[in-house]
Symmetry: C2
Subunit: 181 residues, 2 copies
């Protein structure tokens, strides 16, 4: 547990990046091994099957979310602003992990779907005390989902319709006025 082998992490990184950039279909064992700089046999030493590789990615996401919930709870501008801003962030480890696991969920991986639902529940639990009622909580969660979704759709290629800079500040102000307790 304490320090996972380097090659293992390299393989997970490669698998994750391919899933995010090119989708489920492109994320083969072969492509993952090539991207990670190991042979197929080498990969299969660390992950004995495709589903073991997927399980490894899902498990790593769980650990990243633990850290994020902690950061959100003690964020400077409050959890709502932290949550919205981080939902619009791309290409940080957490964001990539969520997008990658979403791809697995869409491909029918039940554990991936379960993990995503669990994550959303934990975020909602952290936000709930700061909103005035259920509709306000829905509003915050859905705007965050919308921000994330637009990022994920672009895949990081095209500058998308997600507000940045002053537009993001204005959006956060609007949401907080409508939702904050």
């Amino acid at each position: 547990m304490s320090r996972p082998p380097l090659a293992r992490e390299k393989v997970l990184d490669a698998f994750e990046r391919i899933l995010v950039a090119d989708g489920e279909r492109a994320a083969t064992m072969d492509a993952t091994a090539r991207r990670a700089g190991v042979s197929k046999g080498g990969l299969l030493y660390h992950f004995a099957s495709k589903s073991a590789l997927e399980a490894g990615l899902i498990e790593r996401l769980g650990a990243l979310v633990d850290d994020d919930i902690a950061a959100m709870t003690s964020a400077e501008g409050g959890p709502i602003a932290y949550f919205l801003r981080s939902s619009a962030t791309e290409n940080d480890p957490l964001d990539r992990a969520i997008t990658a696991v979403s791809r697995l969920a869409q491909g029918g991986n039940a554990a991936a779907g379960g993990m995503l639902r669990d994550i959303r529940d934990r975020w909602a639990d952290a936000i709930r005390p700061h909103t005035k009622d259920d509709a306000a909580l829905d509003l915050v969660m859905l705007v965050a989902d919308g921000l994330y979704f637009n990022n994920a759709l672009e895949g990081g290629s095209i500058p998308g319709p997600v507000p940045t800079g002053a537009a993001m500040d204005a959006l956060i102000a609007l949401v907080e006025t409508a939702a904050r307790r």
Copy 2:
């Protein structure tokens, strides 16, 4: 143009349903033919290649959106309420088409990504006149994206976190108060 052959539509329906339910990877020519009740050869008469099949689905989505924009513009409770409610609808033809084309976009189909961006622009154009400023428009669009995203993630299986009934009414009231011109 006037009346596309029945078998063609049956094939597109089958392809779409597999994409939505089981993802990009499961949506093979073989599986599509089987689901549509034709042979692989029969499918290939209507769509000479996989990319022709994908193009057919994308084109059909474009036609559905034309109708939706028209309905939204003349909707009873106003475009914002119509737009939010329809974003939370699952399993109507438009919703399924969007989800299916999203899967193609995630797999790297550029035309699919372009169509989705175009659709979002057209929706924004229809909503813009009814919102007070840019942040308000962002808010409406992102809540709609969030609603859609949650539907798409579930894949229609599990009763998701999308508000329904009175909770949906409350959400719409909250968004309209914050955003409406």
